[in-house]
C-alpha cells in the first residue's frame, strides 16, 4: 500500500471527512511531511471507492461549492487495520535490531 493511500484511510479511520478535510488531516497525521494535492487525493479516492474500501457518505453545497463526505467501509477498516499491524510489526523488528537494549521499552 502506498503511503498516500495509507494516510487517506487513516484520516477516515475516526469519522467521515470531505476532500479538503482529508488533506488537512493527512498533513496533521504526518506532521506536515505529506502534503496531499487534489490530483493525488482524487485519483486515490476514485480507486479506493472502486475497491469498496471507501464510500461516499453524503454531500452538501457550501458557499456554492460541492462538498462530498467520505467514510471507511467495513472492508476498508479491515484493510487499514491489517496494513497498520504489518507496518507496526516491521517497525518493531527494525527498532529491536537497531537498539536491542531498548526493544522492551519500544515494543
Amino acid at each position: 500500500m502506498q503511503e498516500a493511500t495509507f494516510l487517506i484511510l487513516t484520516a477516515l479511520a475516526d469519522g467521515t471527512q470531505h476532500g479538503y478535510g482529508i488533506i488537512t488531516e493527512v498533513a496533521q497525521i504526518s506532521s506536515d511531511r505529506v502534503k496531499l494535492r487534489a490530483g493525488t487525493l482524487y485519483t486515490a479516492l476514485d480507486r479506493l471507492r472502486a475497491e469498496g474500501l471507501v464510500a461516499v457518505d453524503g454531500e452538501e453545497v457550501v458557499e456554492g461549492r460541492l462538498r462530498r463526505y467520505y467514510r471507511l467501509t467495513p472492508e476498508g477498516t479491515k484493510v487499514l487495520a491489517d496494513e497498520a499491524a504489518r507496518l507496526h510489526e516491521n517497525a518493531t523488528a527494525a527498532l529491536t535490531r537497531l537498539r536491542p537494549g531498548l526493544a522492551g521499552g519500544l515494543a
Binding site: G39, T40, T43, L66
Partner: protein, 211 residues
C-alpha cells in the same frame, strides 16, 4: 473575484484531461478543493499543481478499469486453479487410460463399456471445462456481470452433475475420482461465494456503489 475566476478557468482547463465519467461526477468537488488549497492571491495554476493533476488524469486514462477488489482477485485465481485441476484430471486419464483399460479387461470385462464412456467423456469434457474456467476467470476479472451469473449457473449445474453421478454409480467410482470431483466442486463453491460478496458486487455493478 476576477482572480478566482481566472484561477478556476485554469484548473478547469487541466481537469478537462480527466475521463468524462470522472469529470461528470467529481469536477466541481475537485475544483472546490483546488480553490480551497490555493495560495492567497494565487491567479495561475502552479507547475506542481498542474503536474499532480496531469499525473492523476494520465493514471485514470491508462488504467480506466476499476481495480479488482480482493475477493474478485481471489475468485479469478481460484477459477484458474479450477482449470489446472481439470487439466491434471485430463492428464491423469490420458496417461493411465491404457493401463486402466488393461486392468479392467482382465478383471471385469463387463465394465469395459462403462469405462470407455467414462474415459471418452473425460477426454471431451475436460478441455471444455478448462476453456470454461479460463473464459469465466477472464470475464469475471473484467467485472462482467453476466460472467458472474453464468459462473453461478455453471456451479449449479456442476453441483447437480456431481450429486447425480454420486447417486447413480456410487459403487463404481474410484476414491480418486470422487476426491478430484470434490476438489473441483469446492473450488467452484469458493469462487462463486467470493464473486457474490458485497465488495465484489460494487465492482460488477459500480452504478450501485456510486449512487
Amino acid at each position: 473575484m476576477s482572480d478566482t475566476a481566472a484561477l478556476e478557468r485554469g484548473y478547469r482547463r487541466i481537469l478537462a484531461w480527466y475521463p468524462r465519467s470522472f469529470r461528470a461526477e467529481n469536477e466541481d468537488e475537485v475544483l472546490a478543493v483546488l480553490l480551497a488549497t490555493a495560495a492567497e492571491g494565487q491567479t495561475r495554476v502552479s507547475p506542481a499543481e498542474a503536474w499532480d493533476l496531469l499525473r492523476g488524469a494520465t493514471r485514470m486514462r491508462l488504467w480506466p478499469v476499476a481495480p479488482r477488489p480482493r475477493s474478485v482477485r481471489a475468485a479469478v485465481r481460484l477459477m484458474l486453479a479450477g482449470a489446472v485441476a481439470e487439466l491434471a484430471g485430463l492428464i491423469t486419464v490420458l496417461v493411465t487410460s491404457g493401463a486402466v483399460r488393461a486392468a479392467v479387461a482382465a478383471r471385469d470385462p463387463a465394465a469395459m463399456h462403462a469405462l470407455m464412456v467414462h474415459q471418452v467423456s473425460a477426454m471431451v469434457g475436460c478441455p471444455i471445462a478448462i476453456g470454461l474456467w479460463v473464459w469465466l476467470a477472464s470475464a469475471n476479472g473484467k467485472g462482467k456481470d453476466w460472467a458472474r451469473m453464468l459462473s453461478g449457473a455453471c456451479f449449479g449445474v456442476c453441483t447437480l452433475t456431481v450429486l447425480g453421478l454420486l447417486a447413480q454409480h456410487a459403487a463404481t467410482h474410484a476414491p480418486a475420482d470422487v476426491i478430484a470431483a470434490a476438489v473441483v466442486w469446492a473450488i467452484g463453491l469458493a469462487s462463486v461465494v467470493l464473486i457474490f460478496t458485497p465488495a465484489a458486487g460494487r465492482y460488477y455493478r459500480p452504478e450501485l456503489a456510486r449512487g
